[in-house]
Amino acid sequence: MRKISLAIIGPHQAGKSTFIRKLDPSAVRMDYEKGTLSTTVGFDYGIIFWDATKNELYPKESIENLDPFNEIWKVTLTGTPGQIAFSYVRKALVKGKDGIIMIVDSAQPVQLVYALGQYQEAREVLPPGFPFLVLANKQDLPDAKPPDVIKGLLGMDAEVIPISALRGDGVEEAFIHFLKVVRADIMSRSIQSYAEAKVRA
């Protein structure tokens, strides 16, 4: 089975855990030890299956319902700690991932500056042009800013999709949309490297 590894970044309390648990209700909550210091930080880890043939998501408990001859991708979701102090933990967790989803609180625009910082951290450890998506969460709140405002505030050329992780509004649609982007990226890299190897041969 082929695999897509995604990291979910975003400021503290932006809704990363809610998002992961909406997709994988039995996601595991882990503690990451902070080196020689004794403090710990928690993060979430979920696994979900994506049937790219039918474009449907299945939680990991539903292997029995999968058609194993469809194009199935196993998707791991690693939530990162949102606090500013845990930069090194985030970098360690983001490294080697196939794509990044950044979740921001649409009702707390002031936090976007922390989100931008985390985006910069990801850029330091991932290759250029890595698949990236911004989810403007908490759209159910009355003072939530619309996605185009969030996009303007972030000032980056990234796709911004509105969701409400708490209610589940738009979560699956946005996630599947991003999975398609990541799949195309993985396959294109595979085609590219195959073609290059052929030329070298």
């Binding site: 039995s26 880890y45 696994i47 790219a52 990991k60 001859f69 194009e71 196993k74 085609i191 195959y194």
Partner: protein
């Protein structure tokens, strides 16, 4: 008592043949779902009536037995289709449902229905011909449904004239009757011999015409019938049969010509493809399109060919016309390539990939435009190759899996629908997905059994969790996960060696071990 509804009768015969009631019910429900059942019922009803009416026609006017025989063959053929469906896991198991098969069956049923309708029309023609020949005072029939009424009328007429005829009829001497029969049989044998030689000719071309074969199978029955009938209707009978045989001969000769053209065109297109590729080689900008050339011809009719009816001959004729067009287009492209300056700029943005014809036509136009506008400003480049492969991959993948479901194992030769240079990439992807096993020696592939594949998915999940979270799971014994993987590989080997009971035992044990690990991993910390 025999059920009146023909589908019920077919159900009863399936039951008699040993199929369980559950299976027959399931078949019925699947056929309903696929909208095949209404079509099948319509055919069965038509064929049943045809059998009855053609026998009546035979009795009254001495022409109808061949149609009755054809109807019986159609009925057997439909029964054969139903048996092939009920015995085919690719149809009966929802998981394996093959839409291609449903489409194919529907096409066969539609052709059969048309064949049954053409037999109905044929019966009407014969009854009308009889009415005209005898100068009877009956209006000509307009529809098949009118036949039973017309036959009743004919019976009444006959009874009233029997006495008169007996009086007037001059009895031929016995010797003359014998001679007449001998001549009739000789002429019939001659007609059948012609058909036999045509069948041999078609056979050598790899083509089988089912209608021709059916008539040849009836040869002995026709001759027996000749021995039985009286001189009075012998001439008419001979005329009817020879006219039917002449019609089949005519169709078969047409089929020979069409098949010959098809074979010649396929070979010539194949040869021209090589020439085309060679000429494209010299033009760097066309490099990306070279991969398309091997696709040309993949959808052409393949030998051996089974032609069921006249409708099939007509559709084959249309295919040959298409091949003729493709052949001319390739020739034009080759000519254009010969005249085009090697440093000419190409505007490839207008190339169409909708069909072979549109690709060749657009390529031809593009080359012509380029030749004619030699020296003009630069054209737009083509960068769609990667997106094309990304788009085609799911289709190639689906096709490979469908071939594997159908045959169990396939070779690289079966993958001609994928450009040669991309086959290893596609296979590597499928192997990465864990769907196929590539046997190096035979270059063959095989589907991993479903239960094994699902278990492997579960193992992969725990392996991932251990690999991603291992250091944070102090209670988890990593070696137990490694052993699960090792034992899983052993289970695969057992399966490959055909040691099924050992394989099943190990798979079942592995399932429990996987569940134990999952329990450990699933605990929130």
């Amino acid at each position: 008592m025999e059920p009146e509804n023909p589908w019920e009768a077919l159900r009863a015969s399936l039951l008699e043949a040993g199929y369980s009631l559950d299976k027959i019910d399931k078949l019925e429900s699947l056929m309903k779902k696929d909208e095949l059942l209404p079509l099948l019922e319509k055919i069965l009803e038509k064929v049943r009536k045809l059998g009855e009416i053609s026998s009546e026609v035979e009795k009254e006017i001495g022409s109808g037995e061949d149609i009755s025989n054809r109807a019986s063959l159609l009925s057997q053929s439909v029964k054969g289709i139903v048996i092939s469906l009920i015995g085919d896991p690719a149809y009966m198991r929802p998981f394996l449902r093959d839409r291609g098969k449903v489409k194919e069956v529907r096409r066969i049923l539609e052709v059969t229905l048309e064949e049954a309708s053409s037999l109905e029309r044929e019966l009407v023609t014969r009854v009308n011909a009889y009415i005209r020949e005898k100068g009877l005072d009956i209006e000509e029939l307009r529809s098949y449904e009118e036949i039973p009424a017309a036959l009743s009328f004919l019976r009444i007429l006959k009874r009233s004239e029997v006495h008169k005829e007996a009086q007037e009829q001059k009895v031929e001497p016995k010797e003359e009757q014998r001679k007449l029969k001998e001549e009739a049989i000789a002429s019939l044998n001659e007609a059948f011999e012609k058909l036999r030689s045509i069948e041999e000719e078609l056979d050598l071309m790899g083509v089988r015409y089912e209608r021709l074969s059916h008539y040849l199978e009836l040869r002995e029955r026709f001759i027996e019938k000749f021995q039985e009938v009286e001189e009075g209707i012998l001439r008419k009978y001979l005329k009817n049969i020879t006219s039917r045989l002449a019609e089949v001969e005519n169709d078969s000769r047409k089929l020979i010509q069409i098949s010959q053209k098809l074979i010649d065109l396929k070979a010539s297109i194949e040869e021209m493809k090589g020439d085309l590729l060679e000429r494209m080689e010299g033009i760097a900008e066309l490099g990306r399109f070279k991969e398309i050339i091997p696709y040309i011809g993949l959808d052409f009719p393949r030998i051996p060919l089974l032609i069921r009816s006249r409708i099939h001959i007509e559709s084959l004729r249309r295919e040959v016309e298409r091949l003729n067009k493709i052949s001319s287009l390739i020739k034009s492209v080759i000519d254009e390539l010969e005249y085009m300056p090697k440093d000419a700029k190409l505007d490839l943005s207008k190339l169409s990939l909708d069909s072979t014809e549109s690709f060749l036509e657009s390529l031809n136009n593009c080359l012509r435009a380029s030749r004619l506008s030699y020296g003009m400003p630069e054209t737009i480049g083509y960068t769609g190759m990667m997106s094309e492969i990304l788009e085609l991959y799911p289709k190639w993948r689906e096709k490979i899996i469908s071939l594997l479901r159908e045959r169990g194992e396939i070779s690289l030769q079966d993958l001609k629908f994928i450009p040669g240079s991309w086959r290893p990439w596609v296979l590597r992807n499928l192997a990465d997905e864990g769907i196929v096993v590539i046997n190096e020696d035979k270059v063959a592939m095989r589907i991993i059994p479903e239960d094994m594949r699902k278990l492997e998915m579960e193992i992969e999940v725990i392996e991932d969790m251990v690999s991603d979270l291992g250091v944070m799971l102090p209670n988890l014994d990593e070696t137990s996960v490694k052993r699960i993987r090792e034992d899983f590989e052993r289970a695969k080997s057992l399966f490959m060696m055909g040691r099924v009971s050992e394989y099943r035992e190990l798979i079942s044990e592995l399932r429990s071990r996987v569940n134990e690990v999952k329990m450990q991993l699933g605990v929130k910390r």
